[in-house]
Structures are given as C-alpha cells and as structure tokens.
C-alpha cells in the first residue's frame, strides 16, 4: 500500500521524475525490513507461532525483501516503458495494482506460514479483508487526489497540508462508505468480526492517514538524499505502528475465537452431561420432564436423574453459587460426587452429608451449591428426600398443591453437617416439581420477582410434567420479556403407578429364577398368557446373554408394568445390539434354513408390540402383551 500513493504523486509533481538513487532505494528497503521486526516482537502475543521468533522474523524479512525488489523492478520497468516523464494515468496504476496485490498476497502468505491458529482461515479472512479494503480505498483516493492535482497544480510544501486536508475529507466520504459496503455482503466477515468491526475500520483509516502524511511529505521532496532518509525513517516508525496494531488485533481476534469455540465445546459437554428426554421416555410408571436455560454459555445449575438400583430412581436438582465457567466446573464436580454417592449409599441424607464433606475439600474458591435429592421407590411410591439449602419443591397431590418445606441443613461445600431426610408416600398421579431460584427470582422490568405463588398456580393448573415444565418456562419468559438474569432449571415428575423390577446376571442358569419372578408378578393372569410370557422371557433373556454379553458376565433388569396391558422392559449395559434388526422374515424350505433366528421371530409374533432403543450405554427392549381380558374390553 505504501507504494501506491507515493509514486502517482512523484510522476504528477515533477516534470522530470524524482531520481531514486541506488543508495536511497537500499536505505528505504532497509527501513522497511526493520519495520517488520516490531510487529513480531510486540504484536503476535497470543498467536501460536509455528517457528521461533527469530525464524518468524526471518520469514517476514525475506518475503518482504522479495516483494520490495519486485516493486522496485516493476516501478523501474514502468518508468522505462513510459519513456517520457509526463504523468500517464493508464500505465502507472496497473503497475501499482500488480505490486499491491503482490504485497497483500505476501503479507497473507506470511500470516499463514508463520502462525498456526485453530481458526487461521477465519483470521486470514479478516486480515485479508482488512488489507484489500485498504488497498481499494487508497487507490480510489489516489485517483481523486491525482485528478485534483491535474486541475489545480499545487506545488511546494505549503500545498501539502492543503492536500492532506482534502484527502482526509475525501476519506470520510469515500473510504468509510466503501468499507461499510464491502462488509455488508461478506457474511463471514461480519460473523467473525461481530463487535470488532469498528477496530478494523479504525486500522484502515489509520493506514490511510499514514499514506496521506507520507504523500504530503513526499510532495515537498526535491530528491535530495537527506530528505529521502528522513522520509524513510518516518515510514519505518509509522508502518511499525500499523503492523503492530494489525497483529495485535489478529492476536485478540484469534484468542476470542479460541475462547468462544472452547466455550461452545464446554456448553456441549455440559448439555450432553445432563439426562435428556431420551432417558426419560423409557421409564415405567413415572413421567419426567426437564429443562435448563443457562444465561451464559455455561451455567451453574444442574439436574440429574438415574436409577440407584433396580427399583429406586434418584432425582437431583442443584444450583452452584455464581455462574459461568467457574460455576460450571464446580457443577460438574458436584454432579459426579452426588451421583457416585447416591449409587453407593442409596440414601438422600447420606449422599448429601458425604458429598458436602468431599466438596469442602480443596474448595479454595469458596464456592457452594444448594441441592435437593429425592429417591423414589417405583414399586410402592415411597419418596425419601433431603434438602440442602435449596428452594422447596412444589408437590401436587389430590388434596392440593403445596411446598415440601422441610430443610435438612445448609448448602454444600462450606461447613460440616449431618443432614437428615424426610419420607412421604406418593399416591398415583402425584407430581413433584423441582426448580432453581432462577425461576422464582426472575425479574420483570420493575425489578419484582416471579415468585413461588405463580409457580404453585401453574403446577396446580397443569396436568403432566411436560406441560408443567413448558408452562413455567413460558410464563417466566413472558414475565422477564425474555431477558433472563440467572440460570433457570426445572425437573418435574409424576408418579403414575407402581412397577416391579428385578435384576439378574444374564446367564442361562438364571433363566428359571427370572421366569419365576415374572410369573409371580403376573400371577393373576390366565395360563395361556403366562406360557406366552414365559416363552418371551426365555427368548429375550438368552438373546441378551448371547449377544449383549458374549464374553463377559453382565446384568439385565426386567421391569414389569401391568397397569394397563403388560409391558416388560429388559435393560442391559452390554454391547449395543438390536435383536429386531436380525429378523429373518419368511423363509423357504426347512432344509435350507439356518439354525438361528427363530427366537426373534417368536418375540415379534408372540408380542403385541416390541421396541428397541439404545440410550446412554443401555440396550432397552420393551415388549407389550395385551391380555385377552383387555382385548375383549376394548372390543
């Protein structure tokens, strides 16, 4: 770019071109090379350099030297081709255009060669845009200024100042609109720059300003060597500043890109770490719904839901003090502590007491977490819970909607405490809604809170967990005008009816035990149906032992839900295996048949419905059998 403005004016200004003595050219070249040291030393702080600093500078200097020689060759050639000293607008801009493109290309190549950033292509796009826009605007300004010179020939130094003023005014009206216009269609740039766009425009304008000063200085030159040196030194200082700024900006942009992509990944990890609706839909006897809206990319709230044994399901909701990355890290720690301890203790109070102790250790940042843990026994609806400084959950029963107000101790992570627990028995249709303070303390424009009364109203007027969760979220969003100030998390569940579950090691020798257990559970049903059930269990159980655990011993649980029709869910943690994909279909003569595959066909034909899903390491095969009595009723 620096070449662009100077030379037009030289041609324009002098009847005879300014003689560029070899010494002056070398001095100028040296100055330019020197100005490449500054950016690498002061500019590329957070960029990941591929080579050592010295090598990087070496690359820059080398590429710049090549470019400079090229520029000089083109300039000199142009001068010779033109032959006469008069200004020719047709030839000269072409040579300038070529050299400028080379300059842009070399600078960009050096960026790519010297730095390895995860999003280097985007960084490249930004800097390329920056340089190209500078080039375009400078060229346009140059043409206009040249035109002015042709119309009003001003000479000598005092004219230079006037020229600078004119060019600045032109800049404001020509360059900035052009930059704006070039930004608009290039969506990538806009997306990448986001709020950085002003700083890029600022750099562009700064470079243009330097060009103007430079041009103005050159105007006064009579070709003497001392002025040439002074001029070159000015260049050196100015361009050093510009390149430092460009590299600094690149550094910052690339750092921001890196952080935002890291945050994005963190958010994904956090989200996939929470149970999803896929995990809920295979639960028997209960309905569950959950949602979490984090205000920052990562949040401090969490909920969790898992089986602590064959029949007991654990619900957790918690809120870590603060939000953002520190809260998210503490959240992950709390979540895994609580999960592990709930598995081993099967008791809400023990889980809370012990995880409090673990979280107190090495908690130098003094973070704390409020938590509510409840364990529901799906066979009889008993619900044990422990509340450690968390908002009281809402329970909706046939008798009315109220709060589970008991508190069993302070929040976790600060001081030792032996927590207690409470127990209630849930009846069919009872619903419990767990939430974090982001819900009740959501602010409207006047600063008033959403409040617990509204939550109670919603819970008592909705029917199932899904619509309750959705309604609370919707009302909170309405209340706050979609401006959340804190993470809002909701976990609601409804106890529909008891189910029976039992677990066995999936080995052929356990087939009689699981069959006996299932037939006991289904003792009230008639004999032909029991024979069908027995056959189904044998086929599925052996299938699991052969295919899910071919080389190891593993458990499978059988959950029987006989509330309406008979639903049998087999869950195992073995190799992902979909038995339904192995259906052999209709077959030809017996002699051509393979020995296997009959089991699957029997499962399909003897059941009224069969589905398979693989969720979080679990093979779940659900078989529905409709007893004759229900079939007749439906008719």
């Amino acid at each position: 770019m620096k070449c662009i403005s100077q030379h037009n004016i030289i041609y324009l200004q002098s009847n005879a071109p300014v003689p560029m003595s070899p010494l002056a050219i070398i001095t100028m070249a040296l100055c330019h090379l020197l100005c490449m040291f500054a950016p690498v030393y002061f500019g590329d702080r957070t960029l990941t350099r591929k080579y050592s600093r010295e090598k990087t500078i070496g690359f820059w200097v080398l590429s710049y030297a090549i470019m400079f020689v090229m520029v000089v060759i083109v300039m000199v050639t142009a001068q010779y081709i033109e032959g006469n000293p008069d200004f020719k607008i047709g030839d000269n801009p072409l040579s300038i255009f070529i050299t400028s493109i080379c300059e842009v290309a070399i600078v960009m190549a050096m960026f790519l060669k010297s730095y390895s950033e995860p999003k280097m292509s985007t960084v490249f796009a930004i800097s390329f845009y920056c340089l190209v826009s500078i080039f375009v605007t400078v060229t346009i300004c140059d043409f206009i200024v040249t035109g002015i010179f042709i119309l009003f020939p001003i000479r000598e130094t005092h004219g230079a100042l006037a020229l600078a003023v004119v060019e600045i005014i032109l800049l404001l009206f020509v360059c900035i609109p052009i930059i704006r216009k070039t930004v608009e269609p290039v969506k990538l740039f806009i997306q990448v720059m986001k709020d950085d766009i002003l700083s890029y425009i600022a750099i562009t304008v700064l470079i243009l300003f330097i060009s103007i000063v430079n041009v103005s200085l050159w105007n006064g030159i009579d070709g003497s060597f001392s002025i040439m040196i002074a001029n070159s030194l000015t260049f050196m200082a100015m361009f050093s500043v510009v390149y430092v700024i460009i590299l600094r900006n690149l550094s910052e942009t690339s750092n921001k890109l890196r952080i935002s992509s890291e945050l994005e990944t963190a958010r994904t990890i956090q989200k996939t770490n929470l149970p999803s609706s896929d995990d809920f839909k295979n639960l028997s006897g209960i309905e569950v719904s959950a949602s979490m809206n984090a205000t920052k990319e990562v949040g401090g709230d969490f909920y969790d839901l898992f089986m602590v044994n064959d029949t007991q399901i654990c619900f957790v909701i918690a809120d870590v003090s603060d939000s953002g990355i520190p809260a998210a890290l503490f959240m992950m720690r709390s979540k895994s502590e609580i999960r592990n301890l709930a598995f081993s203790t099967k008791s809400p109070s023990d889980t809370i007491t012990k995880s409090n102790r673990t979280l107190m250790e090495n908690n130098d940042s003094d973070m704390f977490v409020t938590a509510f843990i409840g364990i529901l026994d799906t066979t009889d609806g008993s619900f044990r819970y422990c509340n450690a400084g968390h908002n009281p959950p809402v329970i909706r029963r046939r008798t009315g909607t109220e709060l589970l107000n008991e508190r069993h101790g302070p929040f976790l992570g600060i001081k030792n405490h032996i927590y207690t627990e409470s127990e209630i028995k849930l009846e069919r249709g009872d619903m419990i809604v767990l939430y974090t303070d982001g819900v009740t303390e959501a602010n409207d424009e006047n600063g008033s809170f959403f409040g617990i009364e509204k939550v109670i109203d919603i819970v008592s007027s909705t029917d199932d967990p899904k619509s309750t969760t959705d309604a609370i979220n919707e009302k909170v969003n309405e209340f706050t005008n979609d401006i959340l100030t804190d993470d809002t998390t909701i976990l609601s569940f409804k106890y529909n009816h008891p189910v029976q579950t039992s677990g066995y090691i999936a080995k052929e020798e356990n087939l009689p035990s699981i069959t006996k257990w299932a037939l006991d559970v289904l003792s009230e049903f008639e004999e032909p149906l029991k024979a069908r059930i027995e056959l189904l269990i044998e086929e599925v159980f052996l299938n699991i032992s052969q295919n899910s655990y071919p080389n190891e011993e593993g458990r499978t649980t059988l959950t029987i839900d006989k509330e309406k029709d008979i639903k049998m869910s087999f869950c195992d943690f073995g190799i992902p295996f979909n038995p339904l994909s192995k259906d052999i279909g209709e077959q030809g003569p017996l002699n051509d048949r393979e020995l296997g595959g009959n089991g699957i066909r029997l499962i399909r034909k003897l059941s009224d419905d069969v589905t398979y899903t693989y969720v979080r390491g679990m093979n779940i095969l659900t078989i529905t059998v409709i007893p004759q009595s229900i079939r007749e009723e439906e008719k």
Binding site: L535, E538, E586, P589, L590, N591, R601, L606
Partner: protein, 96 residues
Amino acid sequence: MKIEAKREGNVVTINVSERLDSATAEDFKTKTIEACGGASSVIINMCDLEYISSAGLRSILSLKKSLANDAVLQIENAHGIVKEVIEISGFNELIR
C-alpha cells in the same frame, strides 16, 4: 423333558414330553440324532409336550438336517402354545 424313541425298520417314532427349551434342547438333539440314524421317516409325537422355545425348534431343525435328503420328518399331536410356536415359526410343513 423325557424322550422315548421307538424304531420299526426305517420308521422312528419319538415321544417327547414336558419342556423342550434351552435347558433340554441339546439333550434332545443328541439323543434323537443318535436314535434316528439311517431312518427314512421320523415322527415326533408332541402329545405330552407342554412347552417349546426357539432352542427346541433349533434342535428339531438340526435333527431334520441330520437325516437323509429324502427322509421325512413329521410332527403330530402338537397343541396349545406348542402348536402356536411351531406354526408362527414356519415349521408347519412338518405338522401332520
């Protein structure tokens, strides 16, 4: 499971009773293949059979494959769930 095999010349009649499931299928297979060696006609009487699973079907298929190509294997007196299983598994060509 109990098996009784009667041989009259090249015709073997097998009476199988109780359960033919994963626990007994292997036993059924070895015993019947042994009893039916060289037979041109095999009849499995399932009159007293109460239960059959895919493992049992597999042992019957193994027995069928062990016989000569032109030999005949037939099932008779299957009833209840046993008959249902045999039919839905496409073994009904064996039913007499």
